[in-house]
């Protein structure tokens, strides 16, 4: 890592790593401790939200290359990471919004303090000199604060106007500017009313909504960017003349032959030229069952070679790999979907012209009626202030926050705020099979109870996915000492004086009757003279059939799109009663099918978990993935559900429909409020205290209405939330 970017001080340097394998709170201490223990006094800070480790050091003795080596035996994969331009821009935007929010909040509080004093004083008698002093102090706070905190709206409004269009920021900017200008002019004239508090309150509420929105988006982007670093960066090239050479993966060309050791990630797509092994494709297909490969088998970059050395002939490297293809598809899908127009934006298209026309008309009306220019302008401005979209701006986010809380209790986490609006429109539900309709880990069927503890403990020493499923039954035992692994066959050890073997059936010398059964895997076990066969089955989620039935009964079209074999998919489809299914699909095929459905007018909810589903999840109208899904899939999806059950999917749709209804009601409340407030302002009866009361009153009403969706989905999901939790919130085992 000699290309480490230099930090501001020439002496201190820092490097970021994207870290895989972080599962719990204890990981923070373990990882940071491991880096601190390296020679060279480096300091490390793990960002848990983005799964990134920042290492900072100034001592020349520190070698950053050793960080990855130190973390590997602990079970973490760390790769040097450079933040992308887009992500850095969004991080800066978030900081900018928070700074504006803080300034607006500070100014609004202090100006309100002065305004309330003036209003209270008016009821009795306030000395005009004191009132003017309070107004001038308010101006002193409000003007610089608004100039600073209003920039997000001013810039956006400016861009819209230059493009000759109107967005929500145009009436906001205009309202704030004219309110402040009028207030200064009126203060200079020693008039009774000033609107500094209204302008600042408005900015504060609007910035709050923006900041929450940006925070959600930024987190999504962060983990997606870690994908780039997953690509293996170095490869072992076999030179034609013989001998091995370490080379960057980006330097590989099609036709090269590479040497992949057990435990290494494949640096490129290719075909196996020599050797047999088991490949963990879970990153690419979501399939947790290892795939046995032999000469001629196709393997993809990003997969892990589990059991034995392979020689692979490269067919695509760098920009041609499957991983790269998935990333490209993802970018396209994300760009295409940003065209969705949110409810609030649709409203604002009509909102701005109506408000501006109303202000203009009331000014003209007063002029025609014989009023002076000053009075007419004051009326026009008070119309703009009172119609400023406070309630409109809160109508949708307030419901989003409340329904996000209700869904959280059901075990569903929302990644994107507007997911609710899109979920409410869904009429077709598309499922992936592996890991989505089926459980992510294979279930053990009827194990011989007395042999299981020994077998599970032995399984701890193997890297094979099936062994890992068995090893979960090992409780907190330590692995046996001196375990020998025979690549692609199994593991053996001496237990209480007798040899124990775990692995392929013939390796353990056991046989079992029974034909080929898709989805069932067998692991043999021998301990001295005793033998057993453990059967691991890819089981359906316990309520999969009930949920699919319920969805069909409620009129949703249900479809399965899977990358798995036709035989396996047909089996599941028949069990669940799904007529429409497709098998052996590549990531691009899934996206293509979703596009077909969308062209037919369907609003599709995609439910999937693998990295291969990620582009489809991004391309679908809206998407959900289980919490066991690949990091990327989870972060592309609009929502994530926890637990072994599928019921949260149906409950989320139901809750979203309620929430959308509440959003529409809220928009109507805002409209009715304007309907009453507007004549008041147009007739010249608006005072600052009425403006403040009306603004907070309508905001309160909108918020209270939003609270009604708090119980959305609870009736159905009361028992479900309990069932969803134990698995995900189980106490964490610490490796102390």
């Amino acid at each position: 890592m000699s290309q480490a970017p230099a930090a501001p001080e020439a002496s201190a340097r820092e490097v970021d790593f994207a870290v895989q394998g972080i599962t719990c709170a204890a990981c923070i201490g373990i990882i940071e401790g491991a880096v601190a223990a390296l020679p060279g006094n480096a300091s490390a800070r793990l960002n848990y939200a983005t799964r990134r480790l920042r290492v900072r050091w100034s001592d020349e003795a520190f070698e950053p290359a050793r960080v990855a080596a130190a973390l590997k035996p602990l079970g973490y994969v760390a790769r040097p990471f450079e933040m992308g331009a887009l992500e850095r821009e969004e991080a800066e935007q978030m900081q900018f919004l928070l700074r504006c929010l803080a300034v607006a909040g500070f100014a609004a509080m202090n100006v309100m303090l002065l305004s309330v004093s003036v209003w209270a004083g008016e009821a009795t008698t306030i000395d005009p000199a004191t009132r003017d002093l309070f107004h001038w102090i308010s101006a002193l706070i409000a003007l610089p604060a608004a100039a600073y905190a209003g920039r997000p709206f001013f810039f956006s409004a400016g861009r819209a106007l230059r493009a000759r269009s109107l967005n929500m920021d145009v009436p906001i900017s205009l309202g704030v500017t004219v309110a402040l200008t009028m207030s200064v002019v009126e203060t200079a004239r020693g008039a009774e009313h000033a609107y500094f508090d209204s302008a600042l309150m408005l900015l504060f509420f609007l910035l709050l909504g923006r900041a929450l929105d940006a925070a959600v988006r930024r987190k999504t982007r962060g983990v997606a960017a870690n994908l780039a670093s997953l690509r293996a960066i170095s490869a072992t090239l076999m030179r034609p003349g013989g001998g091995l050479m370490e080379t960057p993966a980006s330097a590989l060309k099609a036709g090269d032959r590479i040497y992949v050791r057990a435990g290494d990630r494949l640096p490129a797509d290719g075909r196996v030229a020599l050797g047999t092994s088991v490949i963990d494709d879970s990153l690419i297909t979501g399939e947790t069952k290892g795939r046995a490969v032999a000469q001629g088998a196709q393997v993809y970059a990003g997969a892990i070679n589990l059991s034995a050395v392979l020689e692979v002939e490269v067919s695509a490297a760098g920009s041609g790999t499957l991983l790269d293809e998935i990333e490209r598809l993802l970018d396209n899908a994300t760009a295409a979907k940003s065209r969705y127009v949110r409810l609030a934006d649709r409203v604002s298209r009509y909102y701005a012209p109506v408000v501006h026309a109303a202000a203009l008309l009331s000014a003209l009306g007063w002029l025609v009626a014989g009023a002076g220019v000053h009075d007419a302008v004051i009326v026009a401005i008070s119309v703009l202030i009172v119609t400023c979209p406070c309630a409109v701006a809160l109508a949708v986010p307030a419901v989003q926050v409340v329904v996000a809380g209700a869904l959280f209790r059901l075990g569903v986490l929302l990644n994107k705020g507007d997911a609710i609006e899109r979920l409410a429109e869904v009429d077709t539900v598309v499922f992936d099979k592996t890991g989505t309709l089926t459980l992510p880990d294979p279930a053990l069927e009827g194990p011989p109870a007395d042999l299981l503890p020994v077998a599970a403990r032995l399984a701890l020493s193997s890297r094979h996915p099936l062994a890992r499923a068995l090893a979960r039954h090992a409780a907190a035992q330590a692995p046996f000492p001196d375990v020998e692994e025979t690549p692609s066959r199994g593991v053996s050890a001496l237990v209480e004086g007798r040899e124990a073997r775990l692995g392929a059936l013939d390796y353990c010398g056991v046989t079992e009757a029974g034909g080929f059964d898709e989805g069932l895997s067998r692991v043999g076990f021998r301990w001295g003279e005793r033998t057993a066969v453990f059967r691991l089955r890819q089981a359906l989620r316990p309520d999969a059939a009930a949920v699919v039935g319920e969805l069909k009964r409620r009129g949703f079209a249900v479809e399965i799109l899977s990358g798995d074999s036709a035989r396996a998919v047909a089996d599941v489809a028949q069990t669940l009663g799904v007529e429409r299914w497709r098998a052996e699909l590549k990531p691009a095929d899934k996206v293509e099918r979703l596009r077909e459905l969308a062209q037919g007018g369907a609003k599709v909810l995609m439910v999937g978990d693998g990295l291969n589903d990620a582009p489809a999840l991004a391309a679908a109208h809206v998407s959900i993935s289980p919490a066991s899904a690949a990091d990327l899939a989870q972060n592309v999806a609009d929502a994530v559900f926890m637990g072994d059950r599928l019921a949260p999917v149906a409950a989320t749709i139901a809750a979203s429909r309620k929430a959308r209804a509440a959003m529409l009601q809220n928009l109507w409340i805002a409209a009715v409020y304007n309907f009453f407030a507007l004549p008041l302002a147009a007739s010249g009866h608006l005072t600052p205290i009425i403006a403040a009361a009306a603004m907070s009153g309508s905001s309160l009403l909108v918020t209270l209405n939003a609270l009604r969706v708090r119980g959305a989905g609870d009736a159905k999901g009361a028992g479900l939330a309990d069932a969803a939790r134990p698995r995900e919130f189980a106490p964490v085992e610490t490796a102390a």
């Binding site: 923070i28 793990l46 960002n47 848990y48 939200a49 803080a102 300034v103 303090l113 000395d127």
Partner: protein, 58 residues
Amino acid sequence: MTSLLFLIPAALCLGGAGLAAFLWALNSGQYEDLEGAALRVLDDGDIAPSRRRPPVDL
């Protein structure tokens, strides 16, 4: 009314101090990882093992 002469500056200074504290926290990166901050409190690795209290059975 003379009380206003120090009450208003006092109110502004208190608010300003809060604002300054927030901006300092923001610039020093304390809002970068809210999830991690919530978990770090559970880590008692900084307490010497002898001073740790034994777990309580509930």
